[in-house]
C-alpha cells in the first residue's frame, strides 16, 4: 500500500480542516450579502377602532362549548380580533372552569384549513363555490317545488343533538313549511341510560354525586372517557378521590378496561352483553335472594368476585351505580341498575333526579336516522337536510346510509366541513362555527348558558338559524313569526337586549330555552343479537375518548393526543389480549384482519392486558374518507363491521352486538405510539400508597428527610448549584454580588420560586392538560404524513414522525401498568393496577440539562425556572440526552415556517397561535416553560396596577384546564399561594429525587383502595 492512498490529500489541495475554515469565513460573507435586502413588513392598523379593545391585550368572551352535548361554559381569549384560546368558565355551573381536550380543540375546528370557504352548489356532478344569494335562491326554489308537489311531508332534517332553543326553533320553521319535525342525532349520546332514567326517575339525566358515595360501580359506563357529561363527571370523581382515606372505592364491570376501568380499583371483566345479568343478579342478592352463579357463568367471571361486590354493596352505603353499556339490551341493564340504586337507598343521595342535567333532553334515537335512511333508499324522501351530523360515517356500515342518502331527492348540508355525508349533498350552506354564532343552552333547569360570537366569521359562512330566517322572508305569514335575526331571538329569550348585554360577560342568565321537542319514537331493529352471530371473538367497539364518534378527527391536536389507554395516535389499532395474540401468532404491530358478517378491516395489533382474551377491541373515530387532510386515510372505521342492531328500548346503535373472527394479515408496522415502556421497572416514577398504609402514615419507602418539604427545597434565592456555574461570578455564594440570584437583590426576582404540585390521587389521565399546552404554547403537531420523510416502509404515512419519537408534547401523560412482565408474556389476570402521571419539565433546581449546554441556552432563572432561550440554542441536543425525565423536544424540521412541507399551522390554523409565545424555528430545543409568558403577563399587569402579584392570581394552561383539578401552580416561597400549602402534603415526592435534581414539580402519591377481601389477605 502506498503512501498516497493513506494520505489522499492532493499536495496542493485543501485539507479538511482548512476547508472548514474557508467555508466558515465564506459563510459569514454570504450571510452579510444575503441579508442586505430589506424584508418589508407591514404594520396594518384597524380601519375603524373597535370599542373596548387595546391592541396587544386579550379580550375574553364567555360562551358555550358545542363539542359535545354537555354544554360547558367557555371563556374564549381573543387577541386583536382572533380567538386564540378556549378555557373553562370558572363561574359556569357545569364545568366550573375546567375543560376537556375536545373542548380545547374546538379552536382547530374554527380555524380548520379544510373548512368550506363559502356556500357550494353541485354543478356538473361537482360541488362548486357559489354566492349566498344564489344558494338561498336555489334552496328557496327547491322548497317551493317540493311544496308544490305536495311532498314536503317526506322531508328529513337530521340535526346534531344540541341543547338550547335551536331544535325547537328549527321545528317551528319545518312545521311552517309542512315538513315533519327534525331528527336529533348524536352518535355518542348514551341513549339507553337516558331511556332507563326516563322510565325510572322521569328525568333524562340525574345528577351523579360521586363524592357522597362510598362505592362507585360502573356497568360499562365510561364516565371518564367522554361518556355522559365528561367534565362534570370528572370533576366529581376527582373530588371524591381527593377524600383520600375516605374516598370511595371504584369498581368497573366491562369487557375492556377503559380509562374509567383503569381508574377503578377493581375490574370485573364481564363478557360483553352480560352486564344486565350481573345487575339483575346483584339486585336479587341485595334483596337477599338468588344465587350469583348463573350471572357469573354468563359473564365469564368468578362467582367470588360478584359475591364480594354484593357484600360490599350491602356494607358500603351510600353507593353510586352507573350503567352505560352498548349492547343489545343496554336499557335493560340501566333499568336494573336504577332498581339497584333504589334498593340500596342511593336515589336522592348519590343519584339525584331533582338536580339533573338537561343535556340529553330531546336526543333522538339512532334508529330514527337509520329508518330515515331506509325511506331515502326507497326514494320516498324528496328533500333531505343534514346539519352538524355525519351519519354516513357514524352509523353501522350495514345500515348503508351513504348509499341511501344519495337517493334522496335533493340534499342540503349545513356542515362547516366536508364530510362523508356532506360530500353527497347538492347544496352546502356552511354554518358558522359555534365560536362564531349566537345560541343558548340550558344545562341546568332555569339557567341559560349563552353562546355568543367570539370573533368575526373566519370564512363566508352563515348561521343556519339566520339562513332559515332568510328563507322565511318570501312567506309573509311565516316571516311575521320569525325574529329579525337569531341574535334578536336569543335576546328575546333572556328578556331583551339590555338583559342580554348584562348577562353576556358571565355567559349565564336566568331563563329557559325553548323546550326541546320530544323525539318521535321509532321502532328499533334489534338485530341478530350477540349470541346468534358467528366468530370466536366478541367485537367490542368503543367510542374513542379523544375523537369521539369521529368528529374530532380533522383536528390535528386530537389526532396527536395519545389515547389515554393505548397511548397510540394517528392510528386505529386492534386491541387483543397478549394471551390471545400468542395463540394467533400475532405480535404487537402485526397486521390483523377482523372479520364479521358485515365486513372486515385490517389494522395493527396492540397488546392490551386490560381486555378479555375472548374480546377484540377497536375504537371509533378514524377511517374517514372525506373529512379533511388530517382525517382522510388515517386509521379505519370499525362501524363498518357492525350489523344493524339497535337496543330495543332506546333505539341506540349497539356497539357490542356481533362476534368477529381475527386472523393474521400480511405485514407488520411499528405502532404509532408515544410510549417507551408501559412499566416503571422499579423506578418509582408514579407512586401510590394503599389506604391502610396511608392511614398508618407509612408513606415513603425510605425514612430520610423528605427533600420536597417547603422548608428545605423551596426557599427563595440561590438553590441551584448549577445556577452558580451558569452565572459565573454573579452566582458565587461567596461573591458579594450574587446578582439577581440574591433574594435581597433590588430586582426582587429571586424572591419567588415557581413550583407545581400534581395530585395523583385526583389525576385520571384524561390528557386535557396536553391539549391545553398545545394551544397555549404554539406546539406543532408533527404526525401528518407530509411532515415526515417517507423512506422507511414501516415508518411512513400518518404518525411517521411519531415512530421516530419526534412528538413535541411539552406535557405527556405516562401510563404505567404495575406488573413486572413485558406485555407479550402476560397471562390474563384482571387484578392489575394502573398509574398515570403527567410528565413535563421538572424545572430542576439542579438541572442536568444546564451544565451540558455549550451555549448557555438553558439555565436556571432566579425565580426558579429552567429557562430555554430559543435564540441562543444551536441544537446540540446534549440537554435532551442528559435529561432524566426526557421532557425536552427538538425541532427536527421547520414546523413553524410556512414555506416548508412540514408546516404545522396551514392557513388559517396559524390564526390560533399565541402571540405571547415564540414559534420555534428549525434546530431548536424546546420544553415546558411553566407558562413563563403567563408569569410575565401577570407581573406586567400587577405592575400596571401598581401592586404585587396576588396569590393564585394566575396559573398555567395545564392547571387551568385540568378537569380533575390535580395541578396547582404558584409561588412556593410565598405561604399565601395554594401551592406552598400543597407542598407540605405528606404524600409529596419528587420523581428521581435520588439524582439530586431538586425538582420544582412535586407529585402527591395516589391512594389506592384495594378490595376489602384483598386488604385482609395482605
Amino acid at each position: 500500500m502506498s503512501q498516497d492512498v493513506i494520505d489522499s490529500t492532493p499536495k496542493d489541495g485543501v485539507k479538511r480542516r482548512e476547508f472548514l475554515k474557508v467555508l466558515g469565513a465564506t459563510g459569514a460573507a454570504a450571510t452579510l450579502v444575503g441579508c442586505a435586502s430589506d424584508k418589508v413588513e407591514k404594520l396594518i392598523p384597524y380601519v375603524a377602532s373597535p370599542d373596548n379593545t387595546v391592541p396587544g391585550v386579550s379580550s375574553y368572551y364567555a360562551t358555550t362549548c358545542r363539542e359535545c352535548a354537555a354544554g360547558c361554559g367557555l371563556v374564549v381569549e381573543t387577541r386583536d380580533g382572533r380567538a386564540i384560546k378556549a378555557e373553562g368558565n370558572p363561574e359556569h355551573p357545569v364545568n366550573h372552569g375546567a375543560l376537556c381536550a375536545r373542548g380545547q380543540a374546538g379552536l382547530q375546528g374554527l380555524y380548520n384549513p379544510d373548512r368550506f370557504r363559502g356556500p357550494m352548489i353541485r354543478e356538473g356532478g361537482k360541488l362548486v363555490a357559489t354566492s349566498w344569494d344564489k344558494a338561498i335562491a336555489a334552496l328557496q326554489a327547491k322548497l317551493n317545488e317540493v311544496k308544490g308537489q305536495g311532498k314536503a311531508g317526506t322531508a328529513v332534517f337530521i340535526n346534531q343533538h344540541e341543547q338550547g332553543s335551536f331544535p325547537a326553533f328549527l321545528d317551528q320553521w319545518l312545521a311552517a313549511h309542512g315538513m315533519p319535525a327534525h331528527l336529533s342525532y348524536d352518535a355518542e349520546a348514551p341513549l339507553a341510560t337516558v331511556a332507563a332514567n326516563r322510565a325510572s326517575f322521569n328525568v333524562s339525566w340525574p345528577k351523579l354525586d360521586f363524592a357522597a358515595a362510598k362505592l362507585i360501580v360502573s356497568f360499562g359506563a365510561d364516565y371518564l372517557d367522554g361518556w355522559g357529561l365528561s367534565v362534570p363527571q370528572q370533576l366529581a370523581f376527582a373530588e371524591a378521590r381527593a377524600k383520600l382515606d375516605d374516598a370511595p372505592r371504584a369498581v368497573y364491570i366491562g369487557a375492556r378496561r377503559s380509562l374509567t376501568g383503569l381508574n377503578s380499583d377493581t375490574w370485573i371483566p364481564a363478557r360483553p352483553g352480560s352486564e344486565k345479568a350481573i345487575a339483575e343478579a346483584l339486585l336479587a342478592a341485595v334483596k337477599g335472594s338468588g344465587s350469583l352463579k348463573a350471572a357469573a357463568d354468563a359473564a365469564g367471571v368468578s362467582v367470588a368476585s360478584l359475591e364480594a361486590l354484593a357484600k360490599e354493596l350491602q356494607s358500603a352505603k351510600p353507593s353510586l351505580l352507573i350503567a352505560g353499556g352498548n349492547d343489545d339490551d343496554a336499557t335493560g341493564t340501566a333499568l336494573a341498575v336504577n332498581e339497584l340504586n333504589k334498593a340500596l337507598g342511593n336515589v336522592g343521595v348519590t343519584v339525584k333526579p331533582a338536580e339533573g342535567s338537561l343535556a340529553y333532553e330531546g336526543a333522538g334515537s339512532h334508529a330514527a336516522v337509520r329508518e330515515a335512511g331506509e325511506r331515502m333508499a326507497a326514494g320516498a324522501v324528496a328533500l333531505a337536510f343534514v346539519r352538524g351530523a355525519n351519519p354516513a360515517h357514524t352509523l353501522p356500515g350495514a345500515a348503508k346510509f351513504a348509499a341511501a342518502f344519495a337517493k334522496a331527492g335533493y340534499k342540503v348540508s349545513f356542515s362547516s366541513y366536508p364530510d362523508e355525508t356532506t360530500d353527497l349533498c347538492d347544496l352546502v350552506l356552511p354554518d358558522h362555527h359555534a365560536l362564531e354564532s349566537w345560541g343558548d343552552a340550558e344545562p341546568v333547569k332555569g339557567t341559560l348558558s349563552l353562546q355568543q360570537p367570539t370573533m368575526d366569521p373566519v370564512y363566508d359562512t352563515r348561521a343556519t338559524a339566520d339562513v332559515l330566517i332568510a328563507l322565511a322572508k318570501s312567506d309573509a305569514a311565516l316571516s311575521a313569526k320569525m325574529p329579525a335575526d337569531y341574535r334578536a331571538f336569543i335576546a328575546a329569550r333572556v328578556g331583551g337586549n339590555a338583559n342580554l348585554a348584562a348577562a353576556l360577560p358571565k355567559g349565564i342568565a336566568n331563563g329557559s330555552a325553548l323546550p326541546a321537542p320530544a323525539p318521535k319514537p321509532v321502532a328499533s331493529k334489534p338485530g341478530a343479537g350477540i349470541g346468534q352471530s358467528q366468530g370466536p371473538f366478541h367485537l367490542h367497539v368503543y367510542r374513542s375518548p379523544v375523537l369521539g364518534d369521529g368528529r374530532g378527527a380533522n383536528k390535528p391536536w386530537l389526532q396527536e393526543l395519545p389515547d389515554p389507554v393505548t397511548k397510540t395516535l394517528w392510528q386505529t389499532v386492534v386491541e387483543l389480549h397478549p394471551e390471545t395474540a400468542r395463540k394467533l401468532g400475532l405480535e404487537e404491530g402485526d397486521h390483523a384482519t377482523v372479520e364479521t358478517a358485515q365486513g372486515s378491516l385490517t389494522a395493527p395489533v396492540y397488546l392490551y392486558i386490560g381486555i378479555r382474551p375472548d374480546t377484540v377491541g377497536i375504537a371509533t373515530g378514524r377511517g374517514h374518507t372525506s373529512y379533511g387532510r388530517y382525517a382522510n386515510g388515517c386509521g379505519v372505521n370499525p362501524m363498518t363491521l357492525l350489523p344493524v342492531a339497535e337496543d330495543a328500548k332506546s333505539g341506540a346503535v349497539t356497539l357490542v352486538s356481533t362476534r368477529a373472527g381475527v386472523k393474521k394479515a400480511d405485514g407488520s408496522s411499528r405502532l404509532v405510539t408515544t410510549e417507551g415502556s408501559g412499566r416503571q421497572h422499579g423506578r418509582g416514577i408514579a407512586r401510590a400508597v394503599s389506604v391502610a398504609d396511608f392511614i398508618k402514615g407509612d408513606l415513603h419507602d425510605e425514612k430520610e428527610e423528605f427533600v420536597g418539604q417547603a422548608s428545605t427545597a423551596f426557599l427563595p434565592g440561590l438553590r441551584s448549584p448549577v445556577a452558580n456555574d451558569a452565572q459565573g461570578e454573579l452566582g458565587d455564594p461567596k461573591s458579594k454580588d450574587k446578582g439577581q440570584y440574591d433574594p435581597n437583590h433590588w430586582s426582587g426576582v429571586a424572591k419567588r420560586r415557581w413550583a407545581m404540585t400534581i395530585d395523583l390521587a385526583k389525576c385520571t389521565g384524561c390528557a386535557a392538560c396536553v391539549t391545553a399546552c398545545y394551544a397555549e404554547n404554539n406546539i406543532p403537531t408533527v404526525g401528518a404524513p407530509w411532515q415526515g420523510s417517507q423512506v422507511m416502509p414501516d415508518r411512513t404515512g400518518f404518525g411517521a414522525n411519531i415512530t421516530r419519537s419526534r412528538e413535541m408534547a411539552w406535557i405527556r401523560l405516562e401510563r404505567y401498568f404495575e406488573i413486572d412482565r413485558e406485555p407479550k408474556d402476560v397471562e390474563f389476570d384482571p387484578d392489575f393496577e394502573t398509574r398515570v402521571i403527567p410528565m413535563m419539565c421538572q424545572h430542576c433546581g439542579n438541572a442536568p440539562c444546564e451544565p451540558v449546554c455549550p451555549v448557555y441556552a438553558t439555565y436556571h432563572s432566579p425565580d426558579g425556572l429552567n429557562v430555554q432561550v430559543y435564540n441562543r440554542c444551536v441544537g446540540t441536543r446534549y440537554c435532551s440526552n442528559n435529561c432524566p425525565y426526557k421532557v425536552r423536544y427538538f425541532n427536527w424540521f421547520g414546523y413553524g415556517e410556512a414555506d416548508r412541507v412540514q408546516y404545522a399551522f396551514p392557513e388559517p390554523l396559524h390564526w390560533q397561535l399565541n402571540p405571547d409565545v415564540t414559534v420555534r424555528g428549525k434546530g431548536v430545543m424546546e420544553k415546558c416553560s411553566f407558562c413563563v409568558q403567563r408569569i410575565r403577563e401577570a407581573e406586567n399587569r400587577a405592575k400596571l396596577e401598581q401592586r404585587e402579584l396576588k396569590p393564585d392570581e394566575f396559573t398555567t394552561a395545564c392547571a387551568q384546564a385540568c378537569p380533575s383539578r390535580a395541578i396547582i401552580f404558584g409561588d412556593a416561597a410565598d405561604e399565601q399561594w395554594s401551592v406552598a400549602q400543597q407542598l407540605k402534603d405528606e404524600r409529596g415526592y419528587h420523581v428521581f429525587e435520588e439524582l439530586n435534581t431538586f425538582t420544582a414539580v412535586v407529585y402527591l402519591q395516589k391512594v389506592n383502595h384495594p378490595s376489602p377481601a384483598a386488604a385482609t389477605k395482605a
Binding site: A25, A29, A48, V867, T918, Q933, R936
Partner: protein
Amino acid sequence: MTGLRKWVVIPGVAAIAIAATMMSAYAGSQSGAGAPAAGSKETATEAANREATGKAVPGPWAYSGASGYTNYLGQGTGRSPVQPIKFPHPVHVNTLKMNCVFCHMAAFKSTDPGMPAVGTCMGCHLIIGADRPEVKKLADYANKKLPVPWVRVHKVPEYVHFPHMRHVNAGVTCQTCHGQVNNMPQVFQYASLNMGWCVGCHVNGYSPAEGLRAAGYEPDKQALEAPRKKASYDCSNCHY
C-alpha cells in the same frame, strides 16, 4: 487551491467579516450615546430631515451610504422606508402639540403601542386639509375601508417580547429608543435595537436626565438628581 491562493482567500473573507463585526459593534456603542461622532458626515436621511425641518436632526450615524448595514433580519439603524402616505410627525407633534399616545394609544397599557385606526386619522382629516394630496390618499383608504399599509420601521425579533407599557410607565421617554420622531419627516430606525443595547440600560440603568435630553428637553433638577432606573436582566424577562 494552492497554499498561496489559500492565504489570499482566507484573510480576504476574514477581513470582510471583521469589518462587518466592527461596524455592528460601532453601531451598538454609538446609538445610545446622544451625539454624532466628531467629523462624521451628514447622512442622506439627515440631510432630508434637516431640509424639511429647518434644523439639524440627530440621525443614524452608525452607517453612511444608501444600502447600508442591516442586521440579519433585514433591519438596522438608519433604515428609513418610504411610507405609503408621507405622514409628517413634526407637524402633528411639534406644531400641533399632539402627544405620542394620542395616536399610539396603547403604549402605556399594552405590550403593543398601537397604530391609529384609519378612522382616528379621519376624525380630524375629514375636514382638516381635506384637499391636500397626502390627505386625499388617506381619504381614499378610508373610503375604500382599507387600512393604510404602513411599512414597519422598528422591530425586535419574534423571540423577544418587548412590553411597551413597562418602559413607558417607568418614565422612559419615547425618544430614548425611537429618536426624535417629532423631528423626522420620514421615520428612520434610531437605535440598533440589538440585545447589547437593551441590556445596557437594564444593567446600568436608565438615566431620566439622559432620556429627557434625548427627547430634546433640558433636564430639570429632579431629573438630574434621580437615580438611574435599573431593570431585571434575566434572559427569561424577554426571551420565551
